[in-house]
């Protein structure tokens, strides 16, 4: 059964990819979707098994690499953590498959799209079911590939191609860190299998090494490099630049890959490696700092973006920051809980945005929307629920997970705990602001697009609305239903060995004002933003004018792209040109082969002069030679 979960998407990918043209669009859509559905059902079964107390399952498919001590298998490893991820990945993937049937209905390349989606699902499943670091790395790069292919799906758009390459390359920078972490692990533990590595960790706690010129604790180095990998994949500060650009891809892709599943792989990695991270207070603080900073930074940018998908993308970035700082303070199970709920409401938001874009005929700029809620009532309703969920409105899914994170941060003993708590609370307010701004600018106020008439707008077909409805159910109930299992008092019974806590994790109860602060301010913001974005836009307009530099700073995403372009892209090309024209052509060839050739040419030109053909020239040379010889002999 476990095999089916993994291989059903692979089969779907192969069928749609190889024979898509032959079997037709509809057939490949049905085949891929139903295969994923099969995976999803089995995944749910496994999660249920773990809820009622099943043990870890480990299947070896076959041997992959064996060289000396290094021995790695293709494997399927299912514990509680994997089971939760399986449900998230396969269920969202299934809904996105179905949604895509409607969303991509005008696209000529449907089988290719479906096959890429299935390929992605396969790679993601390989990632989460791995029992060793290298198969994880396989999945890690595999989802990167699928993401590359899907971002660049509309290959005629230059911006989509650029974004695809950027995503791949920035991820490779993160992968570089992950690879170094993996090498460190192998060098000092002699294994890459999770169970063996985790067993070896406690004996390496005091090991000091000198790495890249600085002395430090081995475990800390390992954690920092693994975390760099996680930062790349999960678009954390400094390695986040690819995620907003990735919105060039079709919207279902953004929902599946760039919101619900792939970008959470970094969080998964940190949680999976909790037996290592728990022993490195330094890297835990680093994770908290980076996570909290990302949460804040991305939220500020989200406030001013005008592309409906980019707002949600920055929101994703920000929410990932929350998950990281939860993991950083040692609340791994809460991080996964937020990952779980986030998958539903963020996929919902993206797919709703897709539905809006679909209805408006590929318009993504929210400045050209407004007042369309009556035209697309279902989408509107779903999106409002999604927004309520993400802003932590009481009793919706985001409320449970986000509050749990803030509470855990409040009681954290981590040195960055206070920083995280304050940033976390403040960012929660920003989250409400940008989320409601998006709703109001998209659906309320006056319709502002002159190139597309209001009357032409129509609601999306059922094949799009049904997945939205299912996700809405998830966004409403996922928190309430699963909170006791995931983060309740006996969560240890559920997670068992999947998550390692150095000390017993207890969720205490913070003071009442802290508990009430975010939900109440969240509700206030609903009305406040309505006033500022719909009733009285002038005030903000004026604010924009008076604080132009700040506004531009946010609008241009803190100028990260420009900075990286200046620091890396341009120098790389300049150095490349320099090496080529000066190094290879001028110096090596100039002094090497071509130089030799030139010298020989010159010498032979000289030698030619001797062979003049005149007898008296030769006679003269002979005479001189004779003289020199005689002189030499005599002396």
């Amino acid at each position: 059964m476990a095999y089916t979960i993994i291989f059903a998407p692979l089969i779907g990918f192969l069928i749609a990819g190889l024979f898509g043209r032959k079997i037709g669009d509809l057939c490949s859509q049905i085949i891929t979707s139903s295969l994923i559905f099969l995976s999803a059902i089995i995944s749910c079964y496994y999660l249920y098994q773990f809820i009622i107390g099943s043990d870890v399952l480990n299947f070896v498919i076959f041997n992959w690499i064996s060289s000396g001590q290094l021995n790695l298998n293709w494997s399927i490893y299912i514990d509680t953590l994997t089971a939760v991820m399986l449900v998230v990945v396969t269920s969202v993937s299934f809904l996105v498959h179905v949604y895509s049937i409607g969303y991509m209905s005008h696209d000529p390349d449907k089988p290719r799209f479906m096959s890429y989606l299935s390929l992605f699902t396969f790679a993601m499943l390989m990632l989460i079911t791995s029992d060793n670091f290298l198969q994880l790395f396989f999945g890690w790069e595999g989802v990167g590939l699928a993401s590359y292919l899907l971002i660049g799906f509309w290959f005629k758009k230059p911006s989509a191609n650029a974004a695809a390459i950027k995503a791949f390359v920035v991820n490779r920078v993160g992968d570089f860190g992950l690879a170094i972490g993996i090498f460190l692990i192998y060098k000092y533990t002699g294994s890459l299998n999770f169970s063996e590595v985790f067993q070896a960790v406690p004996s390496l706690l005091d090991k000091k090494i000198n790495f890249i010129g600085t002395d430090g604790n081995l475990i800390t180095y390992i954690c920092v490099f693994l975390f760099i990998g996680a930062m790349g994949k999960s678009a954390q500060l400094f390695l986040h630049t690819w995620l907003p650009d990735a919105m060039e891809g079709p919207t279902p892709v953004s929902a599946l890959i760039h919101a619900a599943t792939m970008v959470t792989a970094g969080v998964f990695l940190v949680v999976r490696c909790s037996p290592i991270f728990e022993f490195s207070p330094f890297s835990q603080s680093l994770i908290v700092t980076i996570g909290a900073s990302t949460a804040f930074f991305a939220a500020t940018i989200g406030l001013v973006q005008n592309d409906i998908k980019k707002v949600i993308a920055y929101s994703t970035c920000s929410q990932l920051g929350y998950m990281f700082f939860a993991a950083g303070i040692g609340a791994y199970h809460i991080a996964i809980f937020h990952l779980f709920t986030h998958a539903f409401f963020k996929a919902l938001l993206f797919l709703c945005a897709g539905s809006v874009i679909h209805s408006l005929h590929e318009e993504q700029d929210i400045r050209k929307m407004g007042g369309i809620y009556k035209k697309i009532p279902y989408t509107y309703a779903f999106m409002v629920i999604g927004t309520l969920a993400i802003t932590g409105f009481p009793f919706l899914s985001g409320f449970y997970s986000k509050d749990a994170i803030l509470e855990a941060a409040y009681f954290s003993t981590n040195s960055m705990g206070m920083y995280a708590t304050s940033i976390g609370v403040f960012t929660a307010l920003l989250t409400s602001i940008y989320s409601w701004r998006l709703i109001y600018k998209t659906f309320h106020g006056n319709y502002k697009n002159e190139s597309y008439e209001l009357d032409k707008i129509h609601e999306s077909p059922p094949v799009i609305l049904i997945p939205l409805f299912v996700l809405t159910i998830g966004a409403i109930f996922a928190g309430f239903v699963f909170k006791d299992i995931f983060i309740g008092t006996d969560h240890q019974n559920f997670w068992k060995s999947a998550i390692f806590f150095k000390e017993q994790f207890e969720l205490k109860h913070p003071p009442l004002w802290f508990l009430l602060f975010t939900p109440i301010s969240g509700v206030i913001i609903i009305f406040a933003t309505y006033y500022f974005y719909v009733r009285n836009e002038k005030i903000l307009e004026n604010l924009k004018q008076t604080h132009k530099p700040l506004y531009n700073f946010l609008l241009n995403k803190w100028y990260f792209d420009e900075l990286y372009d200046f620091l890396f892209t341009k120098p790389a090309k300049a150095i490349g040109s320099f090496f080529w024209s000066k190094g290879d052509v001028k110096i090596i060839d100039g002094f090497g082969p071509n130089g030799f050739a030139k010298i020989i040419k010159i010498l032979s030109d000289r030698a030619v002069l001797f062979q003049s053909g005149y007898l008296y020239h030769y006679a003269f040379v002979i005479l001189i030679g004779l003289t020199i010889l005689l002189t030499y002999l005599i002396i």
């Binding site: 992959w64 690499i65 060289s67 000396g68 005629k156 791949f168 390359v169 570089f176 090596i588 082969p593």
Partner: protein, 499 residues
């Protein structure tokens, strides 16, 4: 099996094909067609013969197998051949790539096809000979004789600047080889034999090892090619016809890597340890430098040629970290590079045959017209950038793991090459395949024909199979590599104890 001299047979089988080709007479078209069939048949039989060898090969025996020995020149040169797992993997690569090359040649070469095929078959003999000779003199003969057909292939069937490139190629490699010849002669006078099996068991005078090592290194470094003696490679590739590039990238370069493992490590362990830092420095420069150079190339073939130099940088690093993962990784990387770079050159050949230009800027939007080609090209591009699941990954990761164990700085710098390879490969792919059609000529292209399918599909299958199941190669080389690496580690321990 012991009665039949199967290695010799396999080595010289292609010459029988050459013999028939020489005596073909008749009309031009008839000659071309028949010579195509004959050479395909010959190389096919050679491939089967090599499979037969594999079937009878004992995986657990680290020593040389199928050894044959005959006196040749009195007391000086013995004809001696034999193989271990390492040689066999390269022989298989040779016999696998040659038929593909011949098919590609038949497909695209229009003038003097027969002569071209003769050159290819001659090359095959030389290359198999290199990998199975167990006598230094024989090795040298095969190693050098291989130059001549390649020189002719570039010089006769090449592009505009073919003469310059052919000479550059010839002189560069000859220049290196002279030093190797001198070293070989010295070894003969010092040890009294050129028998590799015997030489592996005796210690060559330590004082001279360094000079001898440098002599061999001069030749191998040029052929690998290592920075800074790599500049012949891009020129040779650019001017060579497609199948010439394939042979060059897939097999000729591998002779050097094979030579490093067999001779530099085997005969001069002292000097190898001594010079290892030099090799690392040159390889790391090669990886970073040539990757950056590849980034700015405007010619498709040149870009792939430069990426070859970078990939071979991984190979030389892996060999000189002396541990099992490193050496196995190097060999695997060579095999994988042999498959993937051949495929990439063939991919360039496919569009070159149609458009007659290799300028990247002339292309764009090819996927609109040639979707199947785009898929093939994509898989090979991913292999080249070392995506897990392709053979490129296994070699790279083993080399990196091995070198990290040895010295983390090496792995650290080498791994940056992994980022850069993603940049230049994907950027090349994007400019050629994706985007809108800008050049009207692209509209008239046709997708892959049957022959091209036949050529690329085996390479595609191998790329993926080796990515998921690398044991095919790793099992084959394991015990032989064990022997090499344990020799080296013993040796390093011993040297450490003396200090």
């Amino acid at each position: 099996m012991n009665e039949i001299p199967i290695l010799t047979l396999t080595t010289f089988l292609p010459l029988i094909g050459v013999f028939f080709l020489l005596f073909l007479k008749g009309e031009e078209e008839f000659v071309s067609r028949t010579s195509g069939y004959i050479s395909l048949l010959t190389s096919g039989i050679v491939f089967l013969a090599s499979i037969l060898i594999l079937n009878n090969f004992n995986y657990n025996n680290p020593d040389f197998q199928f050894v044959e020995q005959h006196d040749w020149i009195f007391n000086f040169v013995n004809y001696k051949v034999g193989i271990d797992g390492i040689s066999l993997s390269f022989i298989l690569l040779t016999t696998f790539i040659t038929p593909i090359c011949i098919l590609a040649t038949i497909n695209s070469v229009k003038k003097r096809l027969r002569e071209f095929l003769i050159a290819l078959l001659l090359m095959e003999t030389m290359m198999i000979g290199v990998f199975c000779s167990l006598d230094l003199f024989i090795f040298y003969l095969f190693f050098e004789a291989g130059l001549i057909p390649m020189f002719l292939i570039i010089g006769i069937w090449g592009g505009e600047k073919r003469v310059y490139s052919a000479f550059k190629f010839f002189l560069y490699t000859l220049f290196g080889s002279i030093f190797m010849l001198i070293s070989i002669i010295y070894i003969y006078f010092d040890a009294g034999t050129l028998d590799v099996e015997k030489l592996l068991n005796i210690q060559i005078n330590k004082d001279y090892q360094k000079y001898l090592w440098l002599g061999f290194f001069a030749s191998f470094a040029v052929k690998t090619p290592m920075w800074p003696v790599h500049t012949w490679l891009p020129d040779a590739h650019v001017e060579a016809p497609t199948s010439g590039s394939v042979i060059l990238a897939a097999i000729l370069l591998k002779m050097a890597g094979y030579g490093f493992i067999r001779f530099s490590l085997g005969l001069f362990p002292d000097a190898s340890v001594y010079f290892a830092p030099l090799v690392f420095a040159l390889s790391i420069i090669a990886i970073i430098y040539t990757s950056l150079v590849a980034l700015v190339q405007k010619d498709m073939k040149k870009l792939i040629a430069y990426s070859s130099v970078a990939h071979m940088g991984f190979v030389t690093i892996g060999i000189f970290v002396f541990n099992k993962q490193g050496i196995e990784g190097s060999i695997f990387q060579m095999i994988s590079h042999g498959i993937i770079s051949s495929a990439l050159f063939l991919c360039v050949g496919v569009v070159y045959d149609r458009m007659h230009t290799r300028e990247i800027s002339e292309y764009g939007g090819v996927v609109n017209i040639m979707p199947k080609y785009a898929v093939m090209f994509m898989v090979f591009t991913l292999g080249s950038l070392g995506l897990p699941g392709t053979s490129g990954f296994v070699g790279e990761i083993l080399v990196l793991i091995g070198s990290f164990k040895y010295n983390y700085w090496i792995a650290f710098f080498a791994a940056t090459g992994v980022i850069l390879s993603a940049c230049y490969s994907l950027w090349l792919y994007r400019r050629v395949v994706f985007g809108k059609i800008t050049n009207e000529k692209i509209r008239n292209l046709t997708d892959l024909n049957k022959n091209e399918y036949l050529i690329l599909t085996p390479l595609l299958i191998m790329t993926i199979i080796l990515g998921f199941y690398p044991a095919l190669i790793l099992d084959l080389i394991s015990s032989s590599v064990d022997k090499v690496s344990s020799n080296m580690t013993d040796y390093i321990k011993l040297a450490g104890a003396v200090k």
